[in-house]
């Protein structure tokens, strides 16, 4: 499935060819970036350490920097739903965090209805030490996202303020709305 190493070999071969025919163009032919080399190690590591509620989907196996993480919580308010996150790893990785969007509409205090996510490790600039750090890896991102449905669920620091207030006001009504959203948007 992961054929980036093969791609790197092919690129290297092409570079070698280019340098034979036209030496000046050899330098700007694509070489594997630092991001790709990091992902080459981190993606297989994430694959084997994935939480049981998660699966990953690479549309293009040669693009390790763009994939989907599918979380199907086994318990909690969102159990039985299928939530698709798109993960894009920018060229500057791992100095900057991956950008993540939730593609499935959801009623959740830490995920807005248009898919923005409030998760500390995904924060690029943070005043305290809780934001992104280059010591983090893709597996931490996958675990962080899956934990948004359990341990990291946080009603006290909401992104979707309306959802958090809904919970504080009437828990059973909040849960009913969550279930309604799950049935309507998060069933595959």
């Amino acid at each position: 499935m992961l054929t980036l190493s093969k791609k790197r070999k092919e690129d290297a071969a092409r570079r070698a060819n280019n340098s034979l025919s036209s030496p000046q163009t050899s330098d700007n032919s694509k070489r594997a970036s630092v991001r790709d080399m990091l992902l080459n190690k981190e993606v297989p590591e994430m694959d084997v350490n994935l939480p049981s509620s998660c699966t990953v989907d690479f549309e293009d196996p040669n693009k390790l920097h763009s994939f989907k993480l599918i979380v199907t919580p086994e318990e909690g308010y969102w159990r039985g739903g299928r939530f698709v996150f798109s993960i894009h790893v920018p060229e500057e990785y791992n100095i900057v965090p991956p950008t993540v969007k939730c593609l499935t509409r959801i009623w959740h205090p830490n995920i807005s209805e248009d898919g923005n996510i409030c998760l500390s490790i995904l924060r690029e600039h943070s005043v305290d030490g809780t934001g992104w750090a280059p010591t983090r890896r893709m597996k931490d991102v996958a675990w962080g996202l899956s934990f948004l449905f359990s341990d990291l669920l946080n009603f006290d620091d909401p992104l979707n303020i309306e959802a958090a207030e809904h919970y504080q006001r009437n828990r059973s009504d909040f849960e009913a709305k969550v279930r309604h959203y799950v049935e309507r948007y998060a069933k595959s």
């Binding site: 070489r31 630092v34 080399m37 990091l38 190690k41 690029e124 030490g129 750090a133 280059p134 010591t135």
Partner: protein, 118 residues
């Protein structure tokens, strides 16, 4: 397998004792030596005297060139930086990170350079 090895060791010990007994005084003969050390090889381990020898940013050994310098063929220019917190990174990796957040990625303390070099 292991049994036969034990027996072999016992045999060597007894022959060693027998030899020394025939040549040395009877007093020494009375002392029962479990074994005689005839030869030894000293083995030593070493590691770099730094807190962390893999750069937490690019995950390459700090004494090797970082991932960026390896791809850009700048191995010679790649040096190590130590912070006041005693954590070490490649200087180029760290200079990219401090622009983002002036903290040590390992201990979150404010980043202060202690030393740069190889």
């Amino acid at each position: 397998m292991s049994d036969s090895q034990v027996i072999m060791k016992d045999e060597t010990c007894s022959t060693a004792n027998g030899k020394s007994g025939s040549m040395e005084s009877t007093k020494q003969d009375a002392e029962v030596k479990p074994f005689t050390l005839k030869k030894w090889n000293i083995v030593a381990m070493w590691s770099w005297d730094v807190d962390c020898d893999t750069c937490a940013i690019c995950r390459v050994q700090v004494m090797d060139a970082c991932l960026r310098c390896q791809t850009e063929n700048k191995q010679e220019e790649c040096v190590v930086v130590w912070g006041e917190c005693n954590h070490s990174f490649h200087n180029c990796c760290m200079s990219l990170w401090v622009k983002q957040n002036n903290r040590c990625p390992l201990c979150q303390q404010e980043w202060m350079v202690q030393r740069i070099g190889k």
